[in-house]
Subunit: 333 residues, 2 copies
């Protein structure tokens, strides 16, 4: 947890949140609006992605929503030019979809962001922009914990495209002097995930299966370790990054001091839900081909540069998360 009030700089500011109807974007929108920011959302509402209009229900102030891709420069031009801060959270997150429709993934995770950066450079180069990248770009880790110097070795098209999207931001900082940076998120969970299918990570899948009294399927023995970060902590990092000039041109890992196995995560969710079961099956080949094994990230740089620490521990975070979905079940299932 940072010592400063991370939301204070945003009171009265105009914030643009791309992917703002999706999981992480919408949680950020709630936080920004609560802090008194004027928020504009850009969201393409791509079918099967995380956008859900219910995700911004109950937001503290009215939010403008532009239904367009971030790469649609005509649609987003005015909002980009007027923004004091840009939180660039839009993207295609499914690893399997990136292999089934690689050109679509390239469009949504790389080309559209390059178009956005070009627009920002031309019309509003002083506005900080923070990109949500992913630890997926590290591929199968060569060492633990994985720091930002770890080799980039994507195991799927999504990883290639997210790295390109991220590196454009880094470049625009270094070459054009813009305040652009990238946070490399690890497994994020919390309210407002897409639950309807298995595209938005395993926690969403597990929560849906638990709430519907279904079976949670683990591959192998479920012993793969992950860092689980609550979305409130990710939102905190986004706020800190956009208001920290020293983050410009940097890539910064998020993480959590406690690693959990997928089996531990599954059982915690079943316990919180009071329903669902866990089963173990052999690895399907198409999953095994793009799996990265264990992951443990080093977030020392986030601590030093941003003053960021994750504040939510998993037991409390997952219980509250399951409670949220139980309360708003009709929005997500």
């Amino acid at each position: 947890m940072s010592g400063r009030d991370s939301a204070a700089p945003y009171s009265g500011s105009r914030c643009l949140v791309t992917g703002g109807l999706g999981f992480i974007g919408a949680n950020l929108v709630h936080r920004l609006a609560g802090a008194g920011a004027d928020v504009t959302v850009v969201d393409a509402e791509v079918a099967s992605h995380g956008a859900n209009v219910h995700n911004i229900e109950g937001v503290a102030r009215p939010v403008d929503v532009i239904r367009a891709s971030v790469g649609d420069t005509d649609a987003v031009g005015d909002a980009v030019a007027a923004a004091d801060y840009v939180f660039n959270c839009a993207g295609q997150v499914s690893h399997l979809d990136s292999m089934r429709d690689p050109l679509g993934d390239l469009e949504l995770n790389a080309r559209s962001h390059l178009a956005l950066l070009e627009l920002l450079r031309a019309t509003n180069p002083g506005a900080p922009v923070v990109f949500t990248s992913t630890r997926q770009i590290y591929g199968r880790p060569k060492y633990f914990p994985v720091d930002e110097d770890h080799p980039v070795q994507p195991v799927d098209v999504n990883g290639v495209d997210k790295f390109a999207g991220e590196q454009y931001h880094v470049l625009y900082a270094h070459v054009h002097g813009m305040h652009a940076c990238s946070l490399r998120l690890t497994n994020t969970y919390g309210p407002r995930m897409r639950l309807r299918d298995d595209r938005q990570g395993f926690v969403a899948s597990f929560v849906r299966r638990a709430l519907t009294g279904d079976v949670i399927t683990l591959y192998g023995d479920g012993s793969m370790e992950r860092d689980m970060v609550h979305v409130d902590d990710v939102v905190e990092a986004l706020l800190l990054a956009a208001s920290t000039p020293a983050s410009s041109g940097e890539v910064v890992n998020l993480g959590h001091p406690v690693s959990l196995t997928l089996a531990e995560v599954a059982h915690a969710i079943v316990d919180a839900a009071g329903s669902g079961t866990v089963e173990y099956v052999p690895w399907p080949p198409e999953r095994a081909a793009i799996d990265i094994g264990n992951y443990k990230g080093d977030f020392t740089k986030a601590r030093k540069l941003l003053g960021w620490e994750p504040a939510v521990d998993f037991a409390a975070g997952i219980t509250a998360t399951v409670g949220f979905y139980r309360e708003h079940r009709s929005w997500y299932l």
Copy 2:
């Protein structure tokens, strides 16, 4: 130099060379045709790129030329499906142009190659495909000599896009079982470079200025070191890579045991041409922003995996190169 006859596997085979009217592609076309291959060229002939119809004059056998982008799946579909080998040399090579037209660079260096790979996967997944990548993706080296494990830290949009294009090839090998690999080229020189402007690397610029009796301008003190590889050695590596199954899924540096400063290169060219002069000026800011400093590559992996060694030393190679341009001056100036 490899012990085996590297061109032998290609006699009677159907070879597709993308960017085959350009510098490296055309030199490969000459070699393949001379070895008895049936060669089809795909080249978009983008204005300001390296395509030059004179580049395939004097080729040993007739060559089919498809004038299209490699990403134009309708235009290249039949040729891709019929190929025994694919040499994927097409691309936008200007670092400055990639900053002026980043979306164009993304199209030519990443999206079109992903489309080509998708086509190959659907219609001809058994054909080996070799991609020409670049050491530019390493950015400013953190250590010397730079091996393939060096962090990827592109300093311009070209580097981001070339890395994406390369990594798609690596992925399609690992995930889809295709024989795809990537050679990371360093400074390449020889016949058939575009000389008309300064887009195709400093050697082309130096040769033009020397031949026209003009001034070769070096930034700073001209002491930046580079590995200079003759295009015949690059062609040799391409032939070896496509016929070496163990290269599949690999990225492989090319290099040269002797490093030269830009000043040494410039003076060698002036000496070979018998005309031109060398001057030193301060670094222009837009150049300094994307310069990488010294570069010295480690090509141990190419030696071990492909049995490749550069055979051409710079003094002989540059003298022959200048002679080629003097003989064919009207094609290039």
